[in-house]
């Protein structure tokens, strides 16, 4: 795909018409909302409302200090528009979390119905968590999975019911002082998921969480902790969306995954925030001996995303597999990369990144492969491909490769290209019109990622791409 695309400007015109199907909103009716701005009082309120143990409150206060001390990142996307004092840090939609959809307040249930979450739960899933602004409003796991000893709740519940796990792992994979937004999350976290899969248990159908921001100018700071015990296996899916507001919102989640010996965790994200959301997320996994961690990370929404799912390969023969996809349109800057840190012998990793920039959008792949001195015979392969649809868009790749062990092997390949006239001509000669030909090429480009997505999300992604090409040429 090295040749020119003469029709780029026409495509750009059409891309601005892409409808965002999830931009609807409910009237704000929270049972509690903190005032605008961040202070120790806000942290106290959150902790009190959650009636959480003192040790967690201490963690929050310490993290808040880190947040105020740490500067904004001096690299990556432009975050200068974020005003931390113009956000609300805790908006509680209901007073309790339900385990059947019938008990969820009507207005909120309708929202999740429109997002088809209950339908997906019935058809495809072992359990579902649904977060609305700052709190989970619904959490349910099938009896069959619960009987296997699988825990699927939120971190608040886990603090009370499984404190030994939370104390042992919370903040160890992503320490509060890791970066400014990890510190912010640790200070004001609310909601998210806690998953524990016991030894040898395979959760055959995925667990899913859906995060919805409804209120204007808020921050959503869910916290997810997944512990896959020895020889277990689980697939977790998260989706997200928000209404379109004039004011910006902030989503700064932290995800920590612990894959113990021989465990396998797959974490799939379908990020579809509205274009007023700053999505600044820290996601990291630790993989112990012979464990496998897979991130499937699809990004199409948000105003700005900075997200680099990471795996620390700590045990011999552990493996990381990261698929990253970004689709940036007008006004969007999506930084979606990946990091793998090889700390043990015979560890392997593969990173595959695909990005598409269109209508003035900007994509950035920022990656790191770091082979430590003890990672003898480590192997890593990185492929990143970027497709630029028109002359207004940008693509960047910033891979960093470090090796401190002479027995390691690292390979990296990257290409940036546009849609070739010869490919278009070939497809058109088979009877496709230009729009269909463009859509087919783009769908083919992202096919390696699409086939890894759950079917309902893959179909949605294809639909969005087809819409983006509608009326684009001729």
């Amino acid at each position: 795909m090295n040749n020119s695309l003469k029709s780029g400007s026409k495509i750009k015109r059409s891309l601005t018409k892409i409808p965002y199907s999830y931009g609807f909103k409910d009237p704000e009716q929270p049972v509690f909302s903190s005032d605008y701005g961040l202070s120790e009082d806000v942290v106290k309120i959150i902790s009190k409302k959650k009636n959480e143990p003192g040790w967690m409150f201490e963690k929050r206060l310490k993290a808040l200090k880190y947040f105020f001390e740490k500067p904004m990142p001096r690299w990556g996307a432009d975050l200068s528009s974020i005003d931390f004092q113009k956000l609300r840090y805790y908006v509680r939609p209901t007073d309790q979390k339900e385990d059947t959809w019938e008990k969820v307040p009507d207005q909120i249930k309708k929202t999740f119905d429109r997002l088809r979450i209950p339908e997906f739960e019935r058809k495809f899933l072992s359990g579902v968590g649904a977060q609305y602004d700052s709190e989970n409003v619904y959490h349910h796991v099938t009896e069959r999975i619960r009987d296997l000893g699988v825990v699927f709740s939120d971190v608040e519940t886990a603090c009370h019911e499984y404190p030994e796990f939370v104390k042992k792992y919370f903040g160890t994979i992503v320490p509060a002082g890791d970066n400014k937004f990890a510190a912010l999350n640790t200070a004001v976290w609310s909601g998210g998921s806690f998953i524990y899969v016991p030894k040898g248990v395979t959760v055959d159908l995925p667990l899913q969480a859906y995060f919805r921001i409804n209120a204007e100018s808020i921050g959503q700071f869910e916290r997810t902790l997944i512990i896959a015990d020895v020889g277990s296996s689980v697939h977790y899916i998260e989706g997200c969306s928000a209404p379109i507001y004039r004011g910006g919102s902030l989503h700064a989640a932290v995800v920590e995954i612990v894959a113990l010996k021989g465990a396998k965790v797959r974490y799939t994200t379908v990020q579809n925030w509205s274009k007023n959301v700053y999505n600044l997320v820290t996601k990291r996994a630790a993989a112990y001996e012979s464990a496998t961690v897979e991130w499937v990370d699809f990004n199409i929404g948000s105003h700005t995303t900075m997200k680099y799912p990471s795996v620390y390969l700590l045990g011999e023969n552990s493996r990381a597999d990261i698929l990253s996809m970004a689709f940036a349109g007008e006004g969007q800057h999506l930084e979606a990369g990946a990091k793998v840190i090889h700390k043990a012998p015979n560890t392997t990793s593969i990173i595959r990144s695909k990005s598409i920039s269109q209508g003035g959008g900007r994509t950035t792949y920022r990656g790191l492969v770091d082979i430590g001195p003890d990672a003898a015979y480590a192997k890593s392969r990185v492929f990143c491909d970027a497709l630029i649809i028109d002359e207004h868009s940008k693509a960047e790749t910033f891979p960093t490769i470090r090796a401190k062990n002479g027995d390691a092997t690292v390979e990296h390949e990257a290409t940036v290209s546009s849609i070739g006239e010869d490919e278009l001509h070939y497809l058109k000669s088979r009877g496709l019109n230009s729009e269909a030909a463009h859509a087919l090429i783009v769908n083919g480009f992202i096919e390696p990622i699409a086939k890894e997505l759950p079917m309902e999300y893959a179909l949605e992604m294809n639909r969005i791409i087809e819409l983006s090409m509608e009326g684009s040429v001729g």
Partner: protein
């Protein structure tokens, strides 16, 4: 072939005039430039810069070079190095494509021996207006020893649609299969490693003339055994 001298880099910049060709040789005997103030070369429309560098000494060394390519200008930057010891080597090449149909090829190959500390950065920026530009950047490091510290950053920033940009980087040790194959012919292990190392560097020597190629290969042969013994 003109040698890049301390005097040239002291002046801070160099310009290759419209349609002219300059072939420049840097022998790695001195450091120059900095991240904030690199040695700057401008290649005007239709101009050609062929630059070849080799770094075989083990002194501390760093260089920073920034090359701008105007319309239809081209640059071939080839570099080979062999490093060992704790003294760091840091190289940085930035290529900015400003004009239409500008072309760049960067090819870096190096061998790292015991305790080698190498950072090699290659940045390619395709600016707005560089439609039809093509760039290819390749960085490859062959590791001869377990104790090494190598950093590679081959970056691409693309601000134009109708371009072709590729980069590749590899870091790896000598193939055991190849080593065994050669050793099974009665060649000592370190000699086999040296043969493979010499072969590894050859693709980066394609642009140099016969005389320079022989000079480089002689220099590699003289030194490589000391890298291969581990």
């Amino acid at each position: 072939m003109a040698a890049l001298t301390k005097e040239m880099v002291r002046n801070g910049n160099l310009s290759i005039k419209k349609g002219e060709t300059l072939t420049l040789l840097y022998d790695g005997s001195f450091s120059f430039g900095s991240a904030s103030n690199p040695f700057f070369i401008n290649v005007e429309s239709g101009g050609i810069l062929n630059m070849f560098s080799y770094m075989f000494n083990i002194e501390s060394l760093r260089f920073f070079i920034s090359i701008e390519l105007e319309e239809s200008a081209s640059c071939n930057f080839d570099s080979v190095f062999m490093r060992k010891g704790l003294l760091p080597f840091s190289g940085s090449v930035t290529l900015k494509h400003l004009g239409r149909k500008s072309v760049s090829n960067v090819h870096i190959r190096g061998i790292l021996g015991e305790k080698a500390a190498v950072t090699y950065r290659g940045d390619v920026i395709l600016e707005k207006g560089s439609s039809g530009a093509k760039t290819k950047i390749e960085e490859r490091a062959l590791l001869f020893h377990k104790e090494v510290d190598v950093n590679m950053d081959p970056t691409l920033a693309i601000n134009e649609e109708d371009v072709s940009a590729k980069h590749a980087a590899t870091i790896g040790s000598v193939s055991q299969n190849e080593l065994i194959y050669i050793a099974s012919r009665g060649v000592r292990k370190e000699n086999a490693k040296a043969v493979l190392g010499l072969g590894f560097l050859q693709p980066a020597l394609k642009s140099v003339d016969k005389e320079m190629e022989e000079y480089i290969n002689d220099a590699v042969r003289k030194n490589i055994i000391s890298y291969a013994v581990s």
